[in-house]
Each structure stands twice: as C-alpha cells, then as structure tokens.
C-alpha cells in the first residue's frame, strides 16, 4: 500500500494529485481513467480541506492499493476532523435550469459517478472513505 499524509489545505492538492497520478501511471492505468480518478481525489481532498477541521488545519491521509484480475485501485481517505458522511449528501438535480442550479453537492456527485464502489465509516475518531475503481 502506498500512502501520503499532508495538511488538508488547497495548497497541498497538487501534491496529492501528483502522488496519485504517478501511482496510476506505474500501474499502466489508462489516461482517461487516471483523469477521472484525479477528479475523484480532488473533490474529496477539497471537501476535507474546506470543512473537516475548519477553521483549524489538520492532516489527511490518502492511501492507494492495487488489485489484479480484475485490475482495480482501492483508494482510502482518512481524516480526524468532524464526523461527516459525504454519502448522505443528496445528489443535485442535474436537470434544473440555470437559475435554479446550485453548485452544492456537485463534487461528491462527480465522485460517485466516477468510482465503482464507495463506502464510509467513522472509527477511532476518524472519517474513513473507501473507494474502488476497476480499470
């Protein structure tokens, strides 16, 4: 398992993305899938950065593991911030017209659309989000 722990701040977003992109490239993940997963990772990391410890700053850990037959990546985000289950967030209505559209919830919606499995648990004072994507 490969992992990276950083302060959850927007300034560290690129470090986490670079780490993930390199791991995915090493495993010959197709570029299209890698870009979709970068989106997933960004949305979760940005959520943690914006809300988990607000107004303080705290750490986030991102782990990646790979499976074969079928090929898949398992990704886990762990933070010690306020308990928050992003899966309880209601999906936005993507059919509303522009005046009724709000950006809220779009990030987690994009996450759900781009992974095959996702689950949340709160354990030992930590938010733990597991995701799996076949490629």
């Amino acid at each position: 398992m490969e992992k990276i722990t950083v302060d959850a701040t927007i300034e560290n977003l690129q470090n986490v993305i670079d780490f993930a992109a390199e791991q995915l490239e090493n495993r010959d993940c197709p570029m299209k899938t890698s870009m979709q997963l970068q989106l997933v990772i960004e949305e979760i990391f940005v959520n943690i950065s914006s809300y988990a410890y607000h107004p303080e700053i705290g750490p986030a850990t991102f782990c990646m593991e790979f499976e074969e037959n079928p090929t898949a990546v398992l990704m886990t985000f762990i933070d010690g911030g306020k308990p928050y289950n992003p899966l309880e967030k209601e999906d936005p209505d993507t059919t509303l017209d522009i005046d009724e559209r709000d950006i809220g919830g779009l990030g987690i919606f994009l996450v759900k659309k781009n992974v095959d499995e996702i689950s949340y648990e709160y354990a030992d004072g930590k938010n733990i989000l597991h995701m799996k994507r076949f490629f």
Binding site: M35, Q38, L39, E42, E43, V46, I98, D99, R101, L110
Partner: protein, 98 residues
C-alpha cells in the same frame, strides 16, 4: 493554469490553459470579476483545457448567470475529458457549446 484574453470591442475570448481545479479556479473567478465589465459576447476557448473539477464548474456557472443578463456566452474547442464532466453534471445543457 494560464489565462489568455483577447478583447475585440465588446467581444471577449478567454483561453484557459491547463487545469481548472480548486487551486486555480479562484484566479479565473477573480479575473472574470473585472474582465466581463461591458462584455456582451463571451467565448471560453477550452482547446488547451485538460481538466475541470467542480470548483471550475462553479466559476462557469457564475459567468453564465452574469452573461445571461448582459449578453451571451459560449464554450468552444471543449476536449473530451472536460465535455464528460459537463455532460455528467448537466452543465452541457445549461451552456452553449460549439
């Protein structure tokens, strides 16, 4: 991310190059605040935009709402990866994409 602007009277083309993510979206948002003053015909050229996240979508939504009041807005040369995100979120139907 890099932003290139080309103004022609009340028509403005903004080329967004690289990644429109949570790190760079505030810069574009700030740029638009003043750049859109007096603009009636806004074009975003996304030929070299490789990636967009929800933070970028938020900036596009704000720009579209503003342009609906003062003129029109369109997106051109949208890459497959960016189009996928616009489609997934229903943004493709809120905006003019050519």
């Amino acid at each position: 991310m890099e932003i290139k602007k080309e103004q022609n009277g009340n028509a403005l083309t903004i080329k967004v190059i690289g990644r429109l993510d949570a790190g760079s979206a505030p810069e574009l948002s700030k740029e638009l605040t003043t750049a859109l003053n007096g603009v009636e015909d806004l074009t975003f050229d996304f030929a070299e935009l490789k990636y967009i996240a929800s933070a970028g979508l938020r900036v596009l939504l704000v720009a579209q709402k503003r342009m609906n009041k003062q003129g029109s807005m369109k997106l051109i040369n949208v890459s497959e990866a960016v189009m996928e995100v616009l489609d997934m979120t229903g943004f493709a139907s809120l905006m003019t994409i050519v």
